[in-house]
């Protein structure tokens, strides 16, 4: 990309993608912003054709003063944090395990990746009906086998259950990224540390973990983006009941259940703000790992 000609050719070729991306992002964003300042109740006959009434910040005030707002923010953060913690810890352990030479390594690796290919709706249904069902679920049978009372997972431990389901889905992603990072570790560094007298755990702490820092950062950032907008798993399992209503789900309820597009759009803008706050914190904490 050195010459003037190649630079302008590059701009020309990137232009369609840039325009498309901008359109894709800007149009919905602007419409959301517009709706959030209007009274937009389709069932009461409001529509864009007839013109929407400008109501200023009243949607924002109503959304934030609702008793479900702060609990939903808390639920969102607990869910994101819980899934991140579980996927990172188990992901590192699994990555180390899969890095060991063993019989059937290829097959095992494919099996580990498999959950990532299952659609969120499907996996949530499988978990709900086959594993966590208090009467016929595998876990219920297991509990009964040991003489324990089966747990009604999605009622009594609803948030933990959803965290478990989502972690199961995202564990392959974390494992995969961390595995490739572990494989790129120069084995001579580990051998040098071994010669230097570092036992296994210290080698992990002083050599492997720092080497994984960048991969861990990437896992945290990418997962957070997707986890903030978790929806299908909640919709399929608890429908937002039993303290599993995240901000995303609350917005969905405002728009679809209450048919209040203006209020929901205001919630959407809050969600953008929340995502940015989380992003700023994350970049402060782990972003420096991305510098070369």
């Amino acid at each position: 990309m050195a010459t003037k000609a190649s630079r302008s050719a590059a701009r020309f070729m990137m232009a369609p993608a840039v325009v498309l991306l901008l359109g894709w992002m800007l149009v919905p964003l602007i419409m959301t912003l517009w709706f959030s300042f209007t009274k937009y109740l389709p069932l009461r006959g409001d529509s864009i054709d007839r013109g929407l009434d400008w109501v200023g910040f009243s949607n924002y005030a109503r959304f934030i003063s609702s008793s479900s707002f702060w609990p939903s923010v808390q639920t969102t953060l607990v869910m994101v944090g819980g899934v991140l913690l579980i996927t990172l810890v188990l992901g590192i352990l699994l990555a180390i395990l899969l890095d060991q030479p063993m019989w059937g390594q290829g097959v095992v690796r494919i099996l580990v990746i498999a959950p990532f290919f299952v659609m969120p709706t499907v996996s949530a249904l499988v978990w709900k009906n086959m594993l966590m069902d208090p009467v016929n679920g595998i876990l219920a049978h297991l509990w009964r086998f040991f003489g324990a009372e089966p747990v009604a997972w999605l009622q009594d431990a609803s948030l933990s259950s959803i965290i478990m389901i989502v972690s199961w889905q995202w564990l392959p992603f974390a494992t995969l990224i961390l595995l490739t990072a572990i494989q790129s570790l120069d084995s001579e560094q580990l051998e040098a540390a071994e010669m230097d007298g570092a036992p296994v755990l210290k080698r992990f702490w002083h050599i492997v973990l720092p080497h994984l820092a960048r991969a861990i950062t990437i896992v945290i950032l990418i997962q957070t983006i997707f986890l903030l907008s978790i929806f299908a798993e909640i919709f399929v399992t608890t429908g937002g009941a039993f303290g599993t209503r995240t901000l995303t789900y609350l917005i969905f309820q405002r728009v679809i259940d209450s048919q209040n597009i203006g209020l929901g759009s205001a919630g959407g803008v809050y969600a953008i703000i929340l995502a940015n706050i989380v992003a700023i914190f994350l970049m402060r904490i782990v972003g420096k790992n991305l510098d070369a």
């Binding site: 120069d186 001579e188 051998e191 540390a193 071994e194 010669m195 002083h206 080497h211």
Partner: protein, 334 residues
């Protein structure tokens, strides 16, 4: 102290035996070089001594103590790796201090030893940099620094200079030799470069396919190679090895003449041929000579700048008393 003894050591990877039974004693304070072509098992042998690979059968003794099943950290050996294996997220100071921290020395002692190692290796100005900010030679010195702070019984070097450019390699070669003179610690050094072996070693161990071909001082190997492999491997340029009628004249299956033991003469001479490539180095000239009827390409080294060119006919006179004779099995005939 740092005497290392290998007794009937073997190593197999699965069904492949890379090191058949091998005996070797490395004396305390000696600079021993393992040299051989790639894949000859020299690095494996070093890793067996280090304990990074388990030996299949046999025993390793360090200072008379059986170390066969001792973990690497407890053998009292320090190793410098080909890739240097520095810890990229730690500063030079922390890299050098790492083995001391692992040995749980107190902070004052660690600081003292790191400073001393750094001053020995001219690293004092770089202590707070990361390995990524250092040049190849500096990284090499950090790796050596990490080895010397531990006061090991012996140093193990695994091709430490192969990632450096030619000029730096010569410099580091001298530095390592000087370090050895100063520390008087046993050093075991693996290289495929026979020049490194010849210039640095007290004792050279020539390996070929896991077998020790010859052990001796550099000059012993140069003057009395035990077989054709050692003869061809030690010395630069390579010894000319020829079979057939010319060898039969000397009552041998194979004879070898080093390029520096063949004189270029004006006319006459026992051998003659056409000059192929002439490499003029200024101090010497290497001629690669074809059509001698002796071997495909005969190499001759003549002192100074000899003005023969491509295609010229060259007359040669080998020094008869410098001809090495080998029997049909490739072994030296005394």
């Amino acid at each position: 102290m740092g005497q290392i003894q290998l007794k009937q050591v073997t190593k197999s990877f699965g069904d492949v035996e890379v090191i058949p039974p091998l005996d070797l004693t490395i004396q305390d304070g000696e600079f021993t070089v393992f040299v051989g072509p790639s894949g000859c098992g020299k690095s494996t042998l070093l890793r067996l001594i280090a304990g990074l690979e388990d030996i299949t059968t046999g025993h390793i003794e360090i200072d008379g103590q059986d170390a066969t099943d001792v973990v690497p950290a407890k053998r009292g050996l320090a190793m410098v790796f080909q890739s240097y294996a520095l810890y990229p997220h730690m500063s030079v100071r922390k890299n050098i201090a790492f083995p001391l921290r692992m040995a749980k020395l107190d902070q004052a002692e660690i600081t003292k030893r790191v400073e001393r190692a750094a001053s020995v290796l001219n690293l004092t100005d770089y202590l707070d940099r990361r390995p990524g900010q250092l040049s190849g030679g500096q990284r090499q010195r950090v790796a050596i620094g990490r080895a010397i702070v531990r006061d090991p019984a012996a140093f193990l070097f695994d091709e430490p200079l192969s990632n450096l450019d030619a000029a730096l390699r010569v410099g580091m070669r001298l530095e390592i030799s000087e370090l050895h003179k100063r520390l008087e610690t046993t050093m075991v050094y693996v290289t495929h470069d026979q020049v490194e072996a010849m210039t640095m070693a007290d004792k050279i161990v020539v390996l070929h396919a896991g077998v020790i071909e010859q052990v001796g001082t550099p000059l012993e190997l140069y003057h009395t190679p035990r077989n054709t492999f050692v003869a061809g491997f030690i010395g630069s340029p390579k010894m000319n090895l020829m079979t057939g009628d010319e060898a039969a004249k000397h009552g041998a299956h194979t004879i070898g003449v080093r390029p520096e033991h063949i004189d270029v003469v004006e006319s006459g001479g026992q051998w003659q041929g056409t000059v192929g490539v002439a490499e003029h180095l200024g101090s010497d000239t290497f001629f690669h000579i074809h059509n001698t009827g002796l071997m495909e390409t005969l190499t001759v080294r003549s002192i100074g700048d000899v003005s023969l060119k491509h295609g010229d006919t060259i007359h040669l006179e080998p020094r008869v008393d410098e001809i090495h004779r080998f029997d049909a099995d490739g072994l030296r005939i005394a």
